[in-house]
């Protein structure tokens, strides 16, 4: 139904484009045109499609909630909670769709009939209104075409608005992220105290799983302490940075200061391949090759090593991050003005002394910015940890044991079927929002540091 309506509107818009252009050619025989003929077509097409599609979109957004209020009006005298009302509405909907399998009461049956009726009315009303709008806007547009009004400006203003709305897309995504996370997270914090979440040291959400009814609040208090996850996240990120910073920074310095053209031309893109490999592939590599390798070496040294160790995950993550640091610091170092180098050479400094004492301090803000970006990347990395570092949230500082991270726990909680409204599912969103805040914080600092640095030398 909706599809037919939209196709109809679009087809009509195309037809009115050709019609408008034809009309312009007719006008041309008696009057001077105000714009190229195609603008007459665009004008008609825009007036045809835009109002109808906007009304259609608004209708589709608001119709369900209006129908819902109408249906639930019959239940207002029963003193039901919000959740119960929601449940009734779902039952009514599935009964109307013919997929309901529970007990059918008279009342429910009545509501379902009313629902079907309302939907029918809404549908015919929608079609009628949209047809009316199509006729109205087209006749309005046709009148101004006939009057030979200016055609180009309105079309261009319309296009500009389309462009503007598109640029709001990115803002909309951000708003969507914040609200979807906040909405579930707030409901989670109604069940679990925010204090228990941030400072609790015991993460074991599976404990709260109860098939029917509410879980025990005492259990809830002790099951959602996120400290082990925060610690694990930063611990693994720390291991990753221990691998990535020295290798990335030194290779970045070498590539920008020492390497000849040939080496630079080939080595740089090859190192960047490391950044293009999907993380799930790294995860497989960490779980299958690096993990057992670390375990073997550890056992040979007489240490107790878990097969899924934080060290393996962190090291592989570090390898993944090398190219971020190396190419970012390469860019930053190349941006240091040549006269700083020349001054240092003129004083008799060797190349490495120049790098260490002049270029590195000058480029430090940019390097710090790129490292912060890399940390945010490591904090948000998911698949490597899920596959290589185990899923039990241990509070440990031993790199040879398994730990879990925020991202890995989100995956563990949400893999398979979820039940919305369950505190376990909601806890994933609470974790998500803490992850979002941490990475946002890191990114904002990093981007502003890098920006300031760029301005300094430009």
């Amino acid at each position: 139904m909706n599809l037919i309506l939209v196709t109809f509107i679009i087809l009509l818009a195309f037809t009115s484009y050709y019609f408008g252009r034809k009309k312009a050619l007719v006008i041309q025989s008696s009057q001077r045109l105000t714009a190229l003929p195609k603008f007459y077509g665009y004008y008609l097409a825009a007036w045809c499609a835009a109002p109808a599609l906007i009304i259609f979109a608004l209708w589709s957004v608001f119709e369900p909630s209006i129908v819902k209020t109408f249906i639930l009006q019959d239940y207002t005298d029963q003193n039901l909670t919000k959740n119960e009302l929601q449940l009734i509405y779902t039952k009514v909907k599935s009964l109307a769709a013919g997929t309901y399998t529970g007990n059918i009461t008279n009342f429910l049956d009545e509501s379902a009939n009313k629902y079907i009726q309302l939907k029918g009315i809404a549908n015919s009303a929608k079609v009628a209104i949209i047809l009316a709008i199509l006729i109205l806007s087209l006749s309005f547009a046709y009148r101004s075409v006939q009057k030979n009004d200016r055609m180009r400006e309105p079309v261009e203003i319309f296009l500009k608005w389309v462009l503007f709305v598109a640029s709001l897309g990115a803002v909309l995504v951000t708003i969507g992220i914040v609200f979807s996370l906040l909405f579930e997270a707030i409901r989670f914090f109604q069940a679990v105290k925010i204090f228990d979440f941030i400072f609790g040291t015991h993460w074991y959400p599976a404990k709260t799983f109860v098939r029917d009814g509410q879980p025990d609040p005492e259990l809830m208090k002790d099951a959602f302490g996120a400290v082990p996850l925060f610690a694990g996240t930063f611990f693994i990120a720390f291991i990753a940075m221990c691998v990535a910073i020295p290798i990335g920074l030194l290779s970045g310095i070498y590539l920008s200061e020492y390497a000849g053209r040939g080496v630079r031309k080939y080595a740089k893109p090859i190192i960047e391949i490391l950044a293009g490999i999907p993380t799930v592939v790294y995860g497989f590599f960490a779980a299958l090759t690096v993990g057992p390798f670390v375990k073997e070496i550890g056992n040979a040294m007489g240490l107790e090593v878990s097969a899924e160790s934080a060290l393996a995950a962190g090291a592989v993550m570090g390898v993944m991050i090398i190219p971020f640091i190396s190419s970012l610091s390469d860019d930053v170092i190349t941006a240091v003005p040549q006269n700083l180098r020349d001054g240092s050479y003129a004083m008799g400094a060797t190349k490495s002394e120049t790098v260490k004492k002049v270029i590195f301090p000058a480029a430090l803000p940019g390097i710090v910015g790129s490292i912060l970006l890399a940390v945010s990347r490591a904090v948000g990395e998911t698949m490597i940890v899920v596959m290589a570092s185990g899923l039990a949230a241990n509070l440990t500082m031993n790199p040879l044991e398994s730990t879990s991270t925020i991202t890995a726990q989100i995956v563990v909680i949400l893999i398979g079927d979820q039940q919305f409204g369950d505190p376990k599912t909601q806890s994933a969103f609470a974790l998500g929002i803490s992850l979002f805040i941490v990475t946002l914080f890191l990114n904002v600092i990093a981007l502003s540091v890098v920006k300031k640095y760029r301005e300094k030398y430009e």
């Binding site: 948000g380 079927d417 990475t439």
Partner: protein, 423 residues
């Protein structure tokens, strides 16, 4: 004094040389990681492109097939009972085996061997009543033995293939009845719980559909947004806000987009779970900032002289942009788009959250059928314990990497072939 200076100089030169070596070692290490990594994947994965068959003889006995008709129709063949015929085909390999031990022989072929026996007859109806050779898919364990991935010299109880099965395998191998051929079914069959039957067709189609959906949603919006921000946006607080927003969005962890897909697309808009449609939209939100940034950069690279020339000829701002600036910036935009899509291609975590991790053993035909995607397939298989899946994972990784390399090459070609050099 002189010798002191000389020593100092020597020290400084040594330090210089050491520093250079640190850089070389760092680059060497990075390259070594890459090499080890590639070697591991290829050495583990190449064997998955070979499939092992066991050749045996099957007697399409009318009596055992329970076919009464004199000249049976296609339907008769379709509805016949192949259990005994298939069973006999396998047990005839060792007629002396007592009946209660027959599972050992049956386990050497895939559990679908009965279907394979049936399909051969359906393809060649004139085999009815005859004894013909037939190729049966070897079970995962026999396959691994044939590829040399299972050590044979460990005690029997630690092996998945017992001594008797090894003996039969050796006998067949000597007769030349173990065939190894290119594994077409890896590319044409959907996922399966059995390693020897599992293929990437379903996840491959899932990936193709999600990438197409992602392109359809992200490309138009991103290009339009980039045009607005670069060509028309007034310089004010709101524009700055949009810009900061885009830059931050590009660095948001991918899993957060998965939560967005779950919380909004599935819970609010009620789109179908586990489908490439939802996966593609989620990925498109993620690629949006990448494409916007690339498109803006390439719009910025178009020299002002082009705009000035168009304006001087009397074109409006919109005409200048749409007829001159945007077409000239397209190569850069397109290559940025391809790179953004390549990133989306490798994403796993957001797809897991919106349910594309479900076991799907049909090949999806539309974007609203449940499907997996290649990276998720890698994840699913790598969670399986069987050795057969390890090589499948590596092979799947090779396919995925080949895909990525192709896309990056395409991006390079688009950029270098079509981009105008302004000098």
């Amino acid at each position: 004094m002189n010798s002191f200076k000389k020593n100092l100089l020597k020290k400084r030169y040594n330090a210089e040389r050491r520093f250079q070596w640190y850089g070389k070692i760092a680059i060497g290490l990075a390259l070594t990681f890459l090499a080890v990594f590639m070697f591991q994947i290829f050495s583990k994965g190449y064997s998955a492109f070979q499939k092992t068959w066991i050749v045996t003889e099957v007697h399409y006995d009318k009596e055992l097939l329970l076919i009464d008709a004199e000249s049976p129709s296609k339907d008769d063949l379709e509805n016949a009972d192949y259990y005994d015929v298939a069973y006999k085909a396998m047990t005839s390999l060792d007629p002396g085996l007592p009946e209660e031990e027959d599972r050992q022989l049956i386990q050497m072929v895939s559990y679908k061997y009965e279907t394979e026996v049936k399909d051969l007859l359906l393809k060649n109806p004139d085999f009815l009543g005859k004894i013909v050779p037939i190729k049966l898919t070897a079970s995962d364990d026999v396959d691994q033995v044939h590829k040399g991935n299972y050590p044979r010299d460990i005690p029997e109880e630690n092996r998945r293939v017992n001594d008797y099965q090894l003996q039969i395998y050796d006998m067949l191998n000597e007769r030349g009845d173990i065939l190894s051929e290119f594994n077409i079914s890896f590319f044409t069959s959907p996922d399966s719980r059995e390693a020897e039957l599992a293929g990437i067709a379903s996840s491959f189609m899932g990936t193709v559909f999600s990438i197409l959906v992602c392109l359809a949603f992200s490309f138009p919006v991103a290009v339009l947004a980039a045009i607005y921000l670069e060509e028309f946006a007034p310089k004010n607080k709101f524009t700055d806000f949009i810009e900061v927003n885009i830059n931050n969005l590009a660095a948001v962890p991918s899993i957060v987009f998965g939560l967005l897909g779950l919380g909004v697309l599935l819970a609010v808009f009620n789109l179908p779970r586990s489908t490439p449609l939802v996966g593609g939209i989620t990925l498109s939100l993620m690629t949006l900032p990448t494409i916007i940034i690339a498109a803006r950069a390439s719009l910025k690279a178009v020299p002002p002289s082009i705009r000035e020339a168009a304006l001087a000829m009397g074109a409006s701002n919109m005409q200048t942009t749409m007829h001159h600036t945007v077409p000239l910036s397209m190569p850069g935009t397109l290559s940025g788009t391809i790179i953004g899509l390549a990133q989306a291609l490798g994403e796993t975590a957001p797809l897991i959250l919106i349910g594309m991790v479900a076991f799907v053993n049909t090949i999806p035909g539309t974007p609203v059928d449940p499907a997996a995607s290649l990276p998720v397939q890698i994840y699913i298989w790598s969670e399986s314990a069987e050795r057969g899946f390890v090589e499948k994972v590596s092979a799947c990784i090779m396919v995925l990497l080949a895909f990525l390399i192709l896309m990056n090459l395409a991006a390079q070609i688009v950029r270098h072939k079509f981009e105008k050099k302004w000098s």
